[in-house]
């Protein structure tokens, strides 16, 4: 083989790849290509992140009327919306993990929510109430699985000052810790109305049959 071309015009696949690596472009130098690629990468990554963080804000979440009319209205009455210090939590603070990998997984999982928005699965109050317990259970289950990771974004159990907590909180927090409970086990319904609790705890609803005459 007397005349071996160095560029990727001939030869087997390894030779062709080697050719491209050695001289990627006739017009631009390797340095230009690398710097250009670096800058384009930053622009792309920054753009991707900006777009993704834009979906990570309360104003985006409540752009869907399903959220705005139901859970957002309930959240407005709670301490996470409005309190003495003004330190608060909005939708992503509790529902979207902060660590990048978990955040990505949750965002991919959110395509299911887009699907149901398109299907209109909960677009009326009646439909929403019918599914409320199921949806609540999903959130409770995922919080339990992650040991209430999102609660711990702000509330650090190790740093709680028990001398400042009320009479009722101190023994229950201590007991909960020894029993291996996580935040969501007791603090359900902290931000949104609880679903009809009859299935979950029949003692917190009214109505029983006549036990004795």
């Amino acid at each position: 083989m007397a005349d071996k071309p160095n560029s990727g015009t001939g030869g087997n696949i390894i030779k062709r790849i080697w050719g491209v690596m050695k001289k990627p472009s006739a017009r631009f130098s390797l340095g230009t290509l690398m710097v250009g690629g670096f800058v384009a990468g930053i622009i792309f990554w920054g753009g991707f992140n900006t777009a993704m963080e834009a979906t990570n804000r309360e104003v985006f979440c409540i752009s869907c009327h399903e959220m705005r009319e139901n859970v957002y209205k309930e959240y407005r009455d709670t301490i996470h919306y409005n309190n003495r210090t003004g330190v608060r939590a909005t939708c992503p603070d509790c529902h979207v993990p902060k660590e990048w990998t978990y955040k990505m997984l949750r965002k991919i999982q959110a395509s299911n929510e887009l699907l149901h928005k398109a299907l209109g699965s909960i677009d009326t109050p009646e439909k929403f109430e019918a599914k409320r317990l199921t949806l609540a259970r999903h959130v409770w289950a995922s919080m339990k699985k992650t040991d209430s990771r999102e609660c711990r974004n702000c509330h650090d159990y190790e740093s709680m000052d028990f001398t400042k907590q009320g009479r009722r909180a101190v023994p229950r927090h201590a007991k909960g810790l020894t029993e291996g409970k996580t935040c969501i086990d007791c603090h359900k319904g902290i931000a949104h109305s609880l679903p009809a609790m009859y299935e979950v705890d029949p003692s917190v609803v009214v109505g029983g049959h006549q036990a004795a005459k």
């Binding site: 009479r167 009722r168 023994p171 229950r172 109305s193 003692s203 917190v204 009214v206 049959h209 005459k213």
Partner: protein
């Protein structure tokens, strides 16, 4: 006859008007809360905060619905869910360390005992209230019966 009536009414009006005018100018409004001057804007009382969680508050009379010794801000009671019962129901009170809801709350209006809280006793805050550190508006010398008073050591 009509002239006489008209004269009588005029006389009455002459007597009544100065009295009414004087009553408006000098007299304030007298009430149990003290004398208030209607022409001045009263100072609004300070905002009070709910009392911190504490132990049970002694009752003043036997049938009194016990006062709530802890804050209940944000506690909801609706058809689907009663926040109070998450600690005070018969199923939950031991774990919560709370007072059990009285069995008198299980009877319907005909006296039949139900298996769960009766609808007429379901809305707790119709009778039970938390406390705020506010002075009484009117001086009060009420004392509970001896039976309910704490023993003096």
């Amino acid at each position: 006859m009509n002239k006489l009536i008209a004269l009588f009414l005029a006389l009455l009006w002459c007597l009544a008007t100065p009295l009414a005018w004087s009553a408006g100018e000098d007299a304030g409004l007298k009430s149990l809360g003290g004398e208030t001057d209607l022409t001045q804007e009263p100072k609004a009382p300070e905002l009070k905060s709910w009392e911190r969680d504490r132990g049970p508050i002694p009752r003043n009379y036997v049938q009194q619905p016990p006062l709530i010794p802890h804050a209940i801000e944000g506690y909801r009671i609706n058809k689907k869910f009663n926040k109070c019962l998450t600690c005070h129901s018969w199923a939950n009170y031991q774990e919560a360390g709370a007072t059990k809801i009285s069995q008198t709350h299980f009877a319907d209006r005909d006296g039949h005992v139900l298996s769960n809280v009766s609808a007429r006793r379901y809305f707790c805050t119709q009778c039970h209230v938390p406390q705020v550190d506010a002075p009484p508006l009117v001086e009060n010398t009420f004392e509970p019966v001896k039976v309910l008073q704490k023993q003096q050591q």
